[in-house]
């Protein structure tokens, strides 16, 4: 039987920062599975994150496999080339080639990444995917999709059904098959489905039903999350309920919305619905600091949201050039203030941020190299 953790967990999405810290060109990082997985695991260990950072550029894989033109560069994460959208007009949908989830684009690379993680850690990997709405944006373009939704909703529903049934379901099944876990959590990213990019009626019609469609076909362990914009939604509680429909069991609440609405409001909602909170710390704050502000924000979140053990701290996409000392401070803050039972007055708890060696010194000490 697993023992209860003695402190709160901190995790991070830090793929760009990992590549930068390790000096690996981004175009190689996102195409060389062993380098990618090994670097991510070493960076996880260096910072002391409680969960390995295993995420790749999760918005790109399916779009690229469908034939969307991409841009690779040594200095940044691959991205969709929005000058040439795959679906220039709705009629192109009938001519799209269904990807082979074992052969198309970088789908084979994903399987290799997952297998490498399992080989290096012995732990199971996760099936990350791009949620239907964000995938539609990536191949059709945001403005086009918005206009389609308003002028040609039948096409949009046909597009989303195709993306679910012919692209995502086979890809998720292939990922699960390749890691030998048919019940693995399928974790979809859906940042595009966020106010003010969408209104809440659009979420009801085009986001929630297609997450449910995936769940109908793949079982309960399918979530889509990463939506932000609660503070811009006009009705944060309604939006949070929509997010829970996409991701039952835990509520992803991300800065700057979490900070703007206040952790108390988010916690009250989570308690009412009996769910865990994944509290995302602002990428800009993590990058720019100062350390006191990072520590203060984390302390406040733990104070308000962490006392019942139903909260984890998550560093939202760490910008590539974030100073490592900012991340060390964040980890130290969670591991100090988040010790159970949470201290009555966290302001009185002394925080010692360790003076750490550089990443290259850390590698040298371990006798590791990243070739």
């Amino acid at each position: 039987m697993a023992t209860a953790p003695d402190r709160m967990i901190i995790a991070a999405q830090c793929n760009d920062h990992s590549a930068y810290l390790a000096g690996v060109p981004f175009d190689r990082f996102y195409t060389d599975a062993r380098t990618f997985a090994k670097t991510q695991l070493l960076v996880t260990e260096y910072y002391g994150f409680d969960a390995p950072n295993t995420m790749w550029d999760g918005y790109n894989i399916e779009a690229e496999a469908l034939g969307q033109k991409m841009m690779f560069s040594p200095n940044k994460m691959p991205d969709v080339d929005r000058r040439e959208q795959l679906l220039e007009n709705p009629s192109h949908l009938d001519h799209l080639k269904i990807p082979d989830p074992y052969k198309s684009g970088r789908m084979p690379w994903v399987h290799e990444v997952n297998k490498t993680y399992i080989e290096l850690t012995g732990s199971p990997a996760r099936a990350y995917f791009c949620a239907p709405f964000s995938l539609a944006v990536n191949i059709r373009g945001y403005m086009n999709l918005v206009i389609d939704i308003n002028t040609n909703p039948e096409f949009v529903h046909r597009l989303f059904a195709f993306l679910c049934d012919d692209v995502l379901v086979p890809f998720i099944e292939a990922m699960r098959h390749e890691i030998g876990r048919p019940d693995s959590l399928a974790d979809g990213s859906d940042a595009w489905a966020s106010p003010p990019n969408v209104n809440l009626d659009m979420v009801d019609e085009f986001v929630v039903p297609y997450t449910e469609r995936l769940r109908e076909r793949l079982g309960k362990k399918v979530v889509t999350r990463g939506q932000w914009g609660d503070a811009r939604s006009g009705d944060p509680e309604r939006f949070m309920e929509q997010k829970l429909k996409c991701c039952p069991g835990f509520l992803s609440a991300l800065d700057p919305d979490l900070h703007e609405l206040g952790p108390r409001r988010i916690k009250d909602f989570a308690v009412k619905h009996n769910v865990r909170i994944d509290a995302g710390i602002d990428a800009t704050l993590i990058r720019s600091g100062p350390i006191d502000a990072i520590v203060g924000r984390i302390r406040n979140y733990i104070d308000v949201m962490g006392r019942d053990g139903k909260c984890i701290i998550f560093l939202n996409h760490i910008p590539f050039d974030t100073p490592p000392e900012h991340i060390h401070a964040a980890v130290a803050a969670v591991h100090t203030y988040g010790r159970f039972p949470i201290a009555e007055n966290l302001a009185e708890v002394p925080l010692k941020i360790p003076q750490r060696e550089s990443f290259s010194e850390f590698l040298h000490k371990k006798g590791e190299t990243i070739d």
Binding site: S73, M77, I147, V198, N199, R232
Partner: protein, 214 residues
Amino acid sequence: MLESIYEDVVRGDLKRVTEHVKAALEAGLDVDNILNRGMIAAMDEVGRRFESGKIFVPEMIMAARAMLAGVDIMKPHLLKGKAAPLGKVVIGTVKGDLHDIGKNLVIMMLEATGFEVVDLGIDVPESRFLEAVRKHNAQLVALSGLLTTAMSEMRATAQLLNRELKKDGIREQVTVMIGGAPVTQSFADEIGADLYAPDASSAARKAKERLRKA
């Protein structure tokens, strides 16, 4: 008639905007009135509603699209008449960044507010911004970017514009504006930009206010 056009634009009803603008022109309504009291006033209202959280980006896109369709119908009349643009804006996404959605929204809102816009596209090197400002005698240059990697390019572009436009003796006549997810007012101050806009609606509003003051 003007009220109908105003309402059509606010609702983002392209079909009715085009019908009503045609009807207004046939009825001999003043072109400036159709533009300013019918459509630009409507877009001001759309901007206000967006900034106060009453509507979202999709509603703003549909409204701007409807208005621009109306402007298209009016173009021959505008060219003949005296309706001059509010000013000229050069805009682009900085080098190394391929994102254009924010930029395109800003363009829509600027055009809907009455500016003439020169779109340099995405992945624009700093020298092209400078060349375009000089070539088009722009009163405003807008730098967009979504990635954190874009921030250093934005800084370099702002510094080049500040330095070279000062040498040209026209720095005071050109407003440098920045926007995009990773940037803030304090970053704008730090790199010597004149304006920061958190979204497309406020970009158009601030540009208009700034040029009015000038």
